[in-house]
Amino acid sequence: MNSVKPNSYRSGPDERGHFGIFGGRFVAETLMPLILDLEKAYTEAKADPAFQSEMNGYLKNYVGRPSPLYFAERLTEHLGGAKIYLKREELNHTGSHKVNNVLGQIMLARRMGKKRIIAETGAGQHGVATATLCARFGLDCVVYMGAVDVERQQPNVIRMEMLGAKVIPVQSGTRTLKDAMNEALRDWVTNVHDTFYCIGTVAGPHPYPTLVRDFQSIIGNETKAQMQEIEGRLPDSLVACIGGGSNAMGLFHPFLDDSTVEIFGVEAAGHGLTQLHAASIAGGRPGVLHGNRTYLLMDADGQIQDAHSISAGLDYPGIGPEHSWLHEIGRVNYLSATDDEALAAFQLLSKLEGIIPALEPAHAIAKVMELAPKRAKDHLMVVNLSGRGDKDVPQVGDILRGKSK
């Protein structure tokens, strides 16, 4: 942990997109002018009250915000410790937090006059959100998805196609999220003139980690106000799962300077940290991929390693650069949950609260099961329930019936 604390944990990145040594703009020259344009458009949009008010209208009436902050009474009783609140991002239109960011980026794309939208997706939630808003605004939509993920997240593939998007199964590399991102970048480099790349998490070259964080921060801002209203104070701890880290960053960022709030990010430990997993902070080190410097899973030669998680949305060998910085500076604790722990949490929440979570936030619930019993009964713990489990029902059903593993 660093001994020198910054005045604020919320002031990053610097003008070159760095959070400490992390972040940056490691892209091909072809893309550099595009990300500079994007940065300019975003800066202008942020300063334009009309942009914010239009977005607020859609957030309320199309997405269905604010999402409730729900006291999970039976889960709390069952665990016998902290008072657990669920931030119900799974109730958003399209079923996850991803739509918050997509709405922002699609509105930016419209401002920039871009007519063709591309996206990468793992679990398909970001793809579905992108396909949805493209349908709403009459834009062409192409979604890259690893062939392995196309297989295990069929319901979302069907949804995207119904919404008019073209889903391209990616056969290169490990055929998961990382390769979908490579393929989306290859598309972008080719179709620079009319295409907007809608990145689904707080990763990629600057300014993506910042703009995705800003669009997702509505999660934390609402949570702060809602907790104030319900309990009259700040929460004591926050827990969220981490793929690239956008639902986590959205919840965490507004609280970073509230020093009494303990913050936990949960990576996917897959089969376990000594075997195949997707926990880049626990098992990786700083490297450069997909436009930024961040913690990555790689071998001694700097080759990127295969990640594994039961959850397609967490199956990525990297993490957003701001998380890498928050880890190094010691503001956020990064934990990890295995496939089996997530499956157990998936079932527990379904049975106790009547809420079937997506496998991704089931990782966060798994760590709540460990953390909550060790906390006092007046400890207020917020978990980001980033998505609903409909997409995972076939996969988990097969696993539970012993048909596959």
């Binding site: 020259e29 072809t30 290169s172 450069v288 990127i304």
Partner: protein
Amino acid sequence: MTTRIDTRFAELKKAGRAAFVTFVMAGDPDPATSLEIIKALPKAGADVIELGMPFTDPMADGPSIQAAGLRALKVGMTLKKTLDLVRGFRKDDNATPIVLMGYYNPIYIYGVDKFLGDAKAAGIDGLIIVDLPPEEDDELCLPAMKAGLNFIRLATPTTDDKRLPAVLANTSGFVYYVAITGITGAAAADASSVSEAVTRIKRHTKLPVCVGFGIRTPENARAIASHANGAVVGTALIDALRNSLDADGRATGKTVNAVAELTAALAQGVKGAQQAAE
């Protein structure tokens, strides 16, 4: 500091012809065959060798070069072994410039200073690192220049006149004009738009301008070489290599020749080009 690259382009200028720049992947399909291939390239007419550094996630490359990198990684290629390969080549050839081309992460993990020292010692002359735009010059470009290696920058159709000075500022050796927006192995650019772009770049720099992406045939090579100081061919050579492999992706008796023959044909194309007056 004069590098082999500077010397080679000065010679070619005197001879009044464009450079033929070949790209192959280090360690593809195995280190021993790869060494034979790069040794054969100058004999077949290559003036400059670009040697790909294998990487798992080559974001700007098409399927052929992706597959070449994976073939090399599968047989255990590493950055250190790439440097060994160049050392092997330098035993018999101290004139042909070698430029390493690839992505930053393996170099970052090797350690920038150690890499630059080892690369220079191995006989490497320049670097083309796809994911290091001028905005990240502190990472490797400036240290490389200090270490006496050329840092060759890519200019692209999206690099407008306003941006060109920034792109060219710390460039040395030559400028690599990527003729299309796209990945390696995609469609060819037409000669007239290339000519326009090269003229535009030359208004900003005295460095030679080589053009690549999409050149596959001796005719393409001739057309491009009449408008530029060099033509770069990669995917076509790698496709020829791949077509010579056995069903398990291993080298056969035909592999080295397959690359050498296409190199010779392409070199004829480049040499047939009329050099545009400077």
